[in-house]
Amino acid sequence: MQLGLRLDRWIHGFLPVTAEGLALSRIFFAAFFLVTGIPTFSWVSSNPPGFFYPPPLSIANLFATFPSVAVMRALDLVICVLLIFLLVGFKTKASSVLLSVAWIFGSSFRYSFGLIDHTILTVVTPAVMAFSGWGATYSIDAKARKSASPLNAWPLSFLALLLGFGFFSAGFPKLLVWADFDLTTQGARSWLVTGWYRLGRRKLLAPLAMSVHNPLVWETMDLTAVAFETSFIFSLVRRGLFRTYLFIAVMFHLINLLMLNIGFITIFPLYVVFAPWERIVPRLRPGVLRMADRLASVNGLIALLVLFLPLYLFEDRVSVNTAANAFSHLGIAFEYFRSPLDYNWFLTLTLHPIAAVVALILAGLAVPLPGRSDRIPGTGGKRVVFFDGVCNLCNGYVDFLIQRDRARGLMFASLQSEAGQVVTRAVPAAAVPNTYYSVFLLDTDGQIYQRSDAILKTLVSLGGMYRMLGVLWLVPRLLRDVVYRGVSRWRYRIFGTRQSCRLPTQEERAMFVPDPLPT
């Protein structure tokens, strides 16, 4: 295939887009900041000119010192209004681009104290996503428009590339320095010790990490971090791999928080843009979508403006840490009630584990085979477990299920039977014995699940204490399938095979799909 066409295929097809998915990621993005903390910059103006130390390329270099309070306060209000516009989808494209521009402008002054917080990927997200059509539905724009606006997938590929490069920019300098295979020099430990003494980062697992003196542990940590960060960009070759890397990234941030006390919650709204919305949206309750639609209205816009704009009357009365990092109703309430817990720290401690659990849930979501199967005659619409009829292990599994399926909600059919063609049409390789394919499940909605998804869905459907196995949905599918593949591959050698396919006994006959199928 021509290089140009391959490039196009990646640019326009790397991540799937749906109008609902884009709209929900837009709403989440705006709501995240409105609820947890709206970017504010007016606090920079209360500092003396000596603290003004803008980074190169920054627009702040055009200024002699921090701008006046009036200018920065106006900027704060504009950012808040643009976030609300984005949430309700009002002039979505323009609002998205302007939001990024205003945010970068304000950040240029914020980062004039000598430290850059590396929130840039999140800051540019609205500007890039503006071209995706993320205002195509659940928006005031959509309600005012007569025809549907087009959706573009390239902004997602663009953002994925930026994210991959971002990680590379973090990992490459480390690769040159940390990957020295010298047990007397340690990189991650340098972060820990610097944070401990210089920034007072001594919470959570930091004391425990300070007591670890085994150089092998630290060297392994260095190499793992380098490998992950530098290789992230190569995950862009495959959608599944990219999402696996996103999952690892969420866990990586959690480990950084626990060990180094470094939070990175602002990256989560970007990760949400990459979420498998095509799988999430069908699982959402209609009420959630109705609520999103109701919020994206003129009434919603007015309500949000009334709710948020008075917040800025209190801007002077909250501490800089709250105003600068988490200016929101919640943050102000924390300060007002003099909560002993710092609000920023509270957010970090709460959102990182939530993100980790959400990532686990998404990584464990069952993925059906494409398309739906018609109902199989003689099954009464029950779940059908397909198994390899000559495999002893699979037959043992069927016996196990028959003994425990008190509700008789399961039917069984061997892959070699006529009913098995439902599966082998979708996965031809399953028709050949001694492959990785041993068990499938045809669910009541006509969707076919394979590998560990099929086994887990079947076991959970037994009810009773087997429902507790549902906790295994939190194990990423990739890992579950590794175990499944291992067992499946060796099942003939370890458990042996039968000469012929299993025939149900008289008692079992009602639980097996008739072969041949009734006409």
């Binding site: 803008p54 390329l57 930026l162 920019s169 800089v320």
Partner: protein, 186 residues
Amino acid sequence: MTVMKKATISPRWRVRLLFIALAPCLLVPLKLRNDTEPYPAILLPSGASLLRTVGSFTGLETECLAEDSAGRKYPFSVATILETVPSDYHPYVVEAGFGINRDRMVRHLPLPFTGRRVPLGRPRSQSQIEATRAWLRARLRQALGIDAVRIHILTYAVTTYYSEVPVRQQKKLQDDTTVELVGARR
């Protein structure tokens, strides 16, 4: 009549060009970061520093003292003086001598392939320095009730000897940087 067709770039090529043009926008800031980190730039934190540990490791701790005209020294919390700055930025403001010891001129932009470096930003004027000193004096007066003439930034090297039992720590003064709040410019 012949109609001249207007030469335009197809939407497909526009997107392709956008992706192609991204490469220098990403790589140039990455190269610039060797000297000083630019903003805005698609960069995530690297911090490729190393800690040498052969039975011990050393971390640096900072302590600040305000000195009055009689030479009396008063320790103060940086967080109290810099309550107008988010706490994560405090060490960086202190490192820059509270904005007095380090000039903005030190930020230079190296021009790729030319070997030249372009200064970015304007150096601080005397009036800006004085405004910063006055601001710091006012803050110290408010916090400590003294008329401070200078600030001492003491840097201690804290060494942990973990190969010894029990683990021993040693704290040694490594540096005393003075920030003049009155009189001489620096």
